[in-house]
Amino acid sequence: MIVVVGLSHQTAPLAVREALAFPKDRLGEALERAREEAGLSEAMILSTCNRVEVYGRAPEPVSRHVAEFLARFHDRRLDELGSQVYQLEGDAAVRHAFRVAASLDSMVLGETQILGQVKRAYEAAEEAGSLGSVLNALRNRSLAAAKRARTETAIGRNAVSVSHVAVELARKIFGDLRDRSVLLVGAGKMSELAARQMVRGGARATVLGGRTFEKAEQLAAALGGQAAPLEALRSSMAEVDVVISGTGAPGLVVRREDVEEAQAAKRNRPLFLIDIAVPRDIEPEAARVKGVFLYDLDDLRSVAEANLRERRKEAASAEAILEEEIGAFLEWRRSLDVVPLLVELRSRADEIRRAEVDKARRRLGPLTPEQEKALDAVTSGIVNKLLHSPTVELKRMAGNRHHTEHVGLIRKLFGL
């Protein structure tokens, strides 16, 4: 049985998640203790800033023990955590594992980080030797399902962070960013983030610095571009496609006249002005100049929200894809269970026995009731004796971490 026990941004505040997070250097120890103390035969721990979860496999429902372990490991008591900790078993646990990997349970729907985090968590468990066939299968299937959901729907396609939105808008205007040029006015964190992605897309960057020219030079070097003094603003703007302005200046830095002059020199080719400063750097009236697209921080946020709405609509089709994959996984899991295997093995053996008895009876002619009984007893005896040891052995290995391989082998051998 697969169990998932933990807490996430949906159930617990940051303070609690922090307190229960597993530091990287204690992960090996935690995995070992989880197996010992909670009776798990396989274990994996996913610990990110938005969730702390223990994934495990056990022969019986042990989620309560896992939850207690989770609290004990961090010197907490389970009853004080209360309903913040969810304890999922069986199908519900599998469904949760799939949804987490596909980023449907994430704070920012469709974010891409979670896939790497889940991957690394499984790898850490593998290195610690606590990953067996079942969790390994869960890893492969849930990651494959996540990738499928991502490629077949647009759940992760549209940017939802301000700097990404800026880059995406630039692409909507200019298409390819290769050989485009970006002008950074001021060297802020967010403008750096956006510029970095544009440079990665092939754009050239120029950084204008005012009082702190050194900072501008450093950023220009990091972006593989040039630095220039703020006085060069007017002349530079006529040569660029994108301007990202994020100075700490109290007043306007770029005025409508500056933009008009630049656009006249550029013959009104598109100019994308991004104002991420508060208070604003670029005169709002500049948006009226031909060919100019002006976005301030609020505009970028409003596009990000629209993108998020788009993602939520996509989530429905992603859920449908995931349900398909979850269904396939569960069915596969059931086919590997020991109990149905034993039932099938027994009924197959009995079927063969009956068929053979019938054949013999036809050859022997009418038998007395005693002879009938004896024939039945002999054949049943052989079947039972033959199946006795496999039955015992199968039940014994039900909790074993190689049990799926064994079940598969037996199915193959007996043609089930």
Binding site: T153, A154, F174, N268, P270, G291, D299, V303, K313, E314
Partner: protein, 271 residues
Amino acid sequence: MDSRVYLFLSLILYAVGAVHVFVHVVTRRRLLTTLTVASTLLGFAFHTAALSQRWTEEGHFPAVGLSDGASFLAWATVLVFLLVYLTTRVDALGLFAYPFVFVLVCVASLSPTSGRPDSVLRGLFLPVHTVLAVFGYGALFVAFTMGVLYLIQEHELRSRSPHRVYYVVPSLERCDTIGGRAAIGGFAFLTLAILTGFNWNMSLNGRYWTGDPKEWAAICAWLIYVVLITARYRAGWGGRRAAWLGIAGFAIVVFTFAWATLVPGVEAAAP
């Protein structure tokens, strides 16, 4: 089989594409899939069969009258659309191309065929002139569509709270580039079509210019494209203004075509 049957089959297959495109806008999947393209290709094959059938039925190139004219224009539009789609992968083009083609094929199947045996239609002028014209129209239709998409995308970008189309329509740059190339291609075909038209006039009437309104309309459309192309490449008139000119030019082209097919007379026999 009757040419009408072929035409009807192609109509249904184009409708599959049209419905598919709109369903996919609503359901937020990719606009064009292999299925859509395959059904369009099959529809195109039936359409080609319908045209060749018409050719044998009429005894001359099947581009005379409303029915055959619309059918032939639709055929060329599908071909141009497929070529542009397969080279650029701009699926938003389908949003306009499918309804346009669907309406044209509807008109073609519902209106009666002219069936006028006429010796002037037997020469080489009819096929050469109409093929050139129709491919020109197809390319100019692409330029028109890209112009509309450009304006839509520009509006979306200025609105700052994008709607669904924002995600479907390609970047401004792409709309502009493809629209520009389509306009040049269409213009080249249109020029050749007009030249052959004049020569046809010459061989029929002994004059290059008859003063027919259709000739005026064709020249007007041609001049608009001259302005569009020179302005774009000489004065850097890209983007918005080029988009509007592309739309205006195509509007006049549609008028020319309608005139040519709806007004009877030998002169108006071909588009």
